[in-house]
């Protein structure tokens, strides 16, 4: 009869105690798993999306908001910048590549981004079918957009005004899908890319009155004439490291625009989220600690009741070491089950959160596993050993002659 089976049967001879221990460990592990997965995924997404972008130039306002709207497509833009001024910056010797963005419309909540072909090389985009946009009103869509909105090459759709809901559809101009992107594992999977001209066209380039969408116009590209044309923001890649020091200062001091560094703002964002994550982490650690104590108390109490059982086992030929390992094994089994359930629960919870998340850009995925989870498993097992060690030593040292004589 294997030691595992003996320990296993003994654990389940008290199902409520066992369940309580497992529950506590599972709960603590689940919280830690969610935190671990969520922060890894968010960090990963932030890194991937801002990988080659050194600076974002946009209208004055919150730099974090500018970064969120222009790189992660989460928040609303800070406003618009005049095209003429933006073009001057694009020609600066510090700039290797500058990509203009025009935001303001959506299709069923998917953001429509007006930009030029520099965007393709910036993100290293490839199409899986069709081609990249060229003319106005041609659209190349992200892989997820094609799947979720059920769009194929050749389909047409109407853009809606705003960034999140379909209101005030631009019924005058239909977009035509000309290509679908290969999954890029970044924001572009969830975007509709088109020429800047398309976005301008939507907003009255052809003399259409824009009286009827006068409400919250912040961040939308509107005006018709060349000198009045606007971008939402510019994504900039530096030519040389020197630019890091010079260029943002120049933008902020000499123009009416602001420059925001994705790296700096991401760090700031993380330090904001970090406080919450830290608190939750301590909370989970506390639960794990309580779980460890609970396992310890459980084993310790049952040891008192079982001292005679253990003495009998010795008379049957079990060595001291065997009893020691039986108790340790019980601790390990409890925490192993708890940790495994906790990790599974964590993934489940994260997946559920992902399903209810509105922003498709920061969507969590509960089906991704990372190697740090092995540390959680190891930590769980360590807790099992630590909780069981004192009872195990007691079982090892017990004087069987005395125990048997007493009964």
């Amino acid at each position: 009869m294997s030691p595992f089976k003996i320990s296993w049967k003994n654990i389940w001879s008290k199902p409520l105690n066992a369940a309580l221990n497992i529950l506590l460990i599972a709960f603590g592990t689940a919280i830690l798993t969610v935190l671990l997965l969520a922060s890894t995924q968010i960090e990963d997404k932030l890194d991937k999306n801002s990988k080659d972008i050194d600076l974002v130039v946009g209208a004055k306002g919150s730099p974090l908001q500018l970064i969120l709207s222009s790189i992660y497509y989460i928040d609303f833009p800070t406003g618009n910048i005049p095209m003429n001024e933006a073009k001057k910056l694009m020609k600066s010797p510090f700039v290797k590549r500058a990509v203009p963005l025009a935001l303001g419309d959506n299709y069923n909540g998917v953001r429509i981004v007006g930009t030029d072909s520099n965007y393709i090389s910036l993100y290293g985009l490839k199409t899986q079918s069709g081609k990249f946009w060229k003319a106005d009103l041609e659209a190349t869509i992200g892989a997820n957009v094609a799947k979720e909105q059920n769009l194929k090459v050749g389909d047409t759709f109407f853009g809606g005004h705003g960034l999140t809901e379909m209101r005030d559809e631009h019924k005058d101009h239909a977009y035509k899908v000309v290509g679908i992107l290969v999954p890029q594992q970044n924001v572009t999977d969830n975007l509709i890319l088109t020429a800047i001209g398309s976005v301008w066209k939507m907003h009255g380039d052809e003399g259409e009155s824009d009286e009827h969408h006068d409400h919250d116009h912040q961040g939308e590209v509107e005006h018709a004439h060349d000198e009045d044309r606007e971008f939402t923001s510019l994504l900039i890649q530096y030519r040389s490291p020197m630019a890091v020091a010079m260029f943002p200062m120049m933008v902020n001091q000499t123009t009416n625009m602001q420059a925001a560094s994705p790296a700096q703002e991401s760090t700031r964002l993380f330090s904001l989220i970090g406080v919450g994550v830290d608190t939750l982490q301590w909370f989970a650690a506390l639960i794990m600690f309580i779980a460890a104590i609970s396992v310890f108390v459980n084993l310790y109490n049952s040891l008192k009741e079982r001292s005679y059982d253990l003495a009998i086992m010795r008379t049957l030929g079990a060595s001291k070491g065997k009893l020691f390992s039986l108790i340790i094994l019980e601790g390990l089994i409890l925490t192993l089950i708890g940790t495994l359930i906790g990790i599974a629960l964590g993934h489940g919870i994260l997946h559920l959160i992902g399903n209810y998340q509105e922003s498709s850009q920061a969507k969590m995925n509960g089906l991704l596993f990372i190697k740090e989870e092995f540390y959680l498993l190891a930590a769980g097992l360590l807790i099992g050993i630590v909780a069981a060690i004192i009872p195990a030593i007691q079982a090892y040292q017990s004087n069987i002659s005395k125990i048997l004589a007493k009964n």
Partner: protein, 209 residues
Amino acid sequence: MISIKSVSHQYGTDQVLKFADWQVNDGEQWLLLGQSGSGKTTLLHILTGLLKPTAGEIKINNTNLYGLSSKKLDEFRGQHIGIVFQKPHLIKSLSIAENLLLAQSFAGLSTDKNRIEEVLASLDMAHKKNAYPQELSQGQLQRVTIARAVINIPTLLIADEPTSSLDDKNAEAVLTLLKEQSELNKATLVVATHDKRVKDAFNLTYSLS
């Protein structure tokens, strides 16, 4: 086959318990008589390798019991000595058959289900194989502990006050079973008791004063 020579034991600073030398041959059936407090349990624990005496030597099958390492001694006990305690005690979380399996594997022997069937059948308990200890009566539990004591075909079968909490009829039944089983398994039997009802069943007696 069992010999104890100049054995004595002292608990703390208490009086020293001295045991007369004793020689038991293969297959004999002995009564170990003594009032409570006379050191009966102490001697049984010394005999079974559970308690190292302060002085003296115990040999079973020509093996010097306390010359063995702790682990070897546990194994030796599991393989060669079967013990029946006053109160039948089984592991509650395991079924009857599993309790017997446990005795086989703890002794370091390979598990043998046929042997378990055989022993349970010889004690008329085969039908309770898959039952759990709390489902059995005291008498049935006592039978299972006897089964557990003989499962590994021990050379020495020791019973500590097996009849003290039983009525006349059951006491006699248990004694009969012990004698039967020791003969069946060719084991030497030592029954420790202060129960006068048991005396007549044995002709060899070791008395403690």
